[in-house]
């Protein structure tokens, strides 16, 4: 299980062409996510973490542009695929959970409908089967009263419940790689730890490979096997969690860790 590499990112550069020059938001990032592991990217706001994740799925909106690099998922370079092949991978092989559960659902449709939509985008199944799948994954996400949540509109759910529904939606097509972009940042601390428990449980059960993005060293330390520290579009240091936490080589990592300690 732990031998292969599911995602290999090499020299990834995403730049923004603006009136005041080029902003190098992601500027030559290399990392691997091994099959079955949780790989963490940690860094301050604006360091390019989220953009790295979006670049992997080739979802950078103009004026942003992926200028170079390769993102090899299993054996395919995602950046070379045509739009339709890429669409088929998004949400089925690779799926993503966003930071803000409140805005990641369309306000005019029910939760259940939106999960069904995710199923129907990838699986040629009957409506009733899709509905069963949606219910099944809402249950697996340990949402309180899944039958009610299914029929609820996003605004009727609490932030934590919405994030559980988001996780259910991300998992409904049984992805092989799950990208979690600050999945607990918008939630308060108690809910945060419940969601992390849930993610732990799912990762164990589904043997998922996970790319976990956070600015929070505490969360990263709890969830990840290996960690990369990102700053200004570059990975300044990466390695096993224990090594990064106990024996950081780079000054920036040291100061980042100290800032967490100072708060605690």
């Amino acid at each position: 299980m732990m031998d292969g590499t599911i995602l290999k990112v090499r020299d990834l550069k995403t730049h923004f062409q603006t009136d005041r020059g080029v902003v190098k938001a992601v500027d030559g990032v290399d990392f691997d996510v091994r099959t079955g592991e949780t790989f963490g990217i940690v860094g301050e706001s604006g360091s390019g973490k989220t953009l790295t994740a979006l670049s992997i799925l080739k979802l950078v909106a103009p004026p942003g542009r992926i200028v170079s690099g390769s993102v090899v998922f299993k054996s395919e370079d995602l950046l070379l695929l045509d739009a339709e092949r890429l669409r088929k991978i998004r949400g089925s092989k690779i799926s993503m959970v966003f930071q803000e559960p409140a805005s990641a659902f369309n306000p005019v449709f029910t939760i259940g409908y939106q999960i069904i939509e995710a199923v129907m985008a990838h699986q040629a199944v009957k409506m009733s089967k899709a509905r069963d799948l949606a219910m099944e994954f809402l249950k697996r996400a340990r949402i309180a009263d899944p039958a009610k949540a299914y029929h609820d509109y996003p605004h009727q759910l609490s932030g934590g419940a919405k994030q559980r529904a988001m996780i259910a939606m991300a998992l409904v097509n049984s992805p092989e790689l799950l990208i979690l972009d600050e999945p607990t940042t918008a939630l308060d601390v108690t809910i945060q730890s419940q969601i992390l428990d849930l993610l732990d449980e799912i990762r164990e059960r589904e043997r998922l490979s996970t790319l976990f993005i956070s600015h929070d060293f505490g969360v990263i330390a709890r969830m990840c096997d290996r960690v990369a520290v990102m700053r200004k579009g570059l990975i300044v240091e990466s390695g096993d969690k224990a090594q990064i936490l106990n024996d950081p080589k780079e000054e920036y990592t040291v100061s980042l860790l100290e800032s967490v300690k100072a708060l605690a």
Binding site: L54, L57, L59, A61, P62, R87, K88, I89, R90, G91, S92, S95, M96, F98, E100, S103, A104, F105, N106, P107, V108, F109, E117, A118, A121, H122, M166, M169, A170
Partner: protein
């Protein structure tokens, strides 16, 4: 408080009038006391009375019956022309807004070009070349009235497509057409609904104007516009011949405008004064 009540009451009366017109159109044969095209030479230009509540015209036809049947023309032209305009506008606006970039530039420049034409004269010219039939009128009004809708939809979609749920939907692998139809258009439809409601009134006016000029709905089919034209020559002796159709045009257009305003207040409460 008081002002709002009056506004609501006005909107309610507007809606009631529109429903009345829909009933007129739907059940015209049952409501109209006479055949609208039946000529009665013994009763030419009779003033409103019990037998003919709105009087008769130069051929002795019952004005009320003609108004009732005329509502069919006005409403079908209003709805279908606006329907065509809304469909074209939504298609144009959503594609331009969603894809952006060069596609957007080209499509919106085309909209600008379309907006340069003096619409009414374009309609006049087209109808003069083609046959003046109801079908042609609907198509031409629709085909020259979609640019506002396209701009509204595009503007909405430009902001909506930056929303995180649209990104989430892309991440989940939604197809672009699906995304536009299911996620963007429903969230952008509010202003279009307002504009369409106002547009129905506008389309009815254009139809009346065309019919008044004689290149709209052709006699003997009654429309409010051609009744006005028939009546203008006898305006001095038979006021009812023009006043009643004119009032129906006035009230119908007013009703759609009021309803549109009320819809705007309802859908966009932030704009409320």
């Amino acid at each position: 408080m008081m002002a709002e009540l009056i506004r609501n009451r006005m909107a309610a009366s507007a809606l009631a009038f529109i429903i009345l017109m829909l009933v007129f159109a739907a059940f015209a044969p049952a409501i109209a006391p006479y055949n609208p095209t039946e000529i009665d030479t013994k009763n030419i230009l009779t003033a409103p009375s019990k037998a003919h509540i709105f009087g008769t015209d130069t051929l002795g036809r019952d004005i009320f019956s003609r108004i009732v049947y005329g509502s069919r023309i006005s409403l079908s032209i209003g709805f279908i022309a606006v329907g065509i305009a809304v469909l074209i506008g939504i298609f144009f606006g959503s594609v331009a807004g969603y894809y952006g970039g060069r596609i957007d530039s080209i499509m919106m420049r085309f909209v600008d070009i379309m907006l340069c034409f003096p619409t009414f004269f374009l309609i006049l010219a087209v109808i003069a070349v083609l046959e003046p039939s109801i079908f042609n009128i609907m198509v031409v009004i629709g085909a020259t009235g979609w640019m506002g809708v396209a701009r509204l939809i595009r503007a909405e979609i430009l902001t909506l497509k930056e929303r995180e749920y649209v990104m989430a939907s892309k991440v989940m692998g939604a197809r672009p057409a699906w995304m536009i139809v299911r996620h963007l258009i429903p969230n952008a439809i509010g202003p279009v609904l307002v504009s369409a409601t106002l547009g129905v009134g506008g389309a009815i006016l254009v139809e009346s104007a065309l019919s008044f000029l004689g290149i709209g709905v052709q006699p003997p089919t009654p429309s409010w516009g051609n009744m006005l034209m028939d009546g203008k020559s006898t305006l001095g002796v038979a006021w009812w011949h023009t006043v009643f159709p004119g009032l129906f045009i006035l009230f119908t257009v007013l009703a759609y405008n009021l309803l549109g305003e009320a819809l705007r207040d309802f859908l966009e409460p932030r704009l409320r004064r």
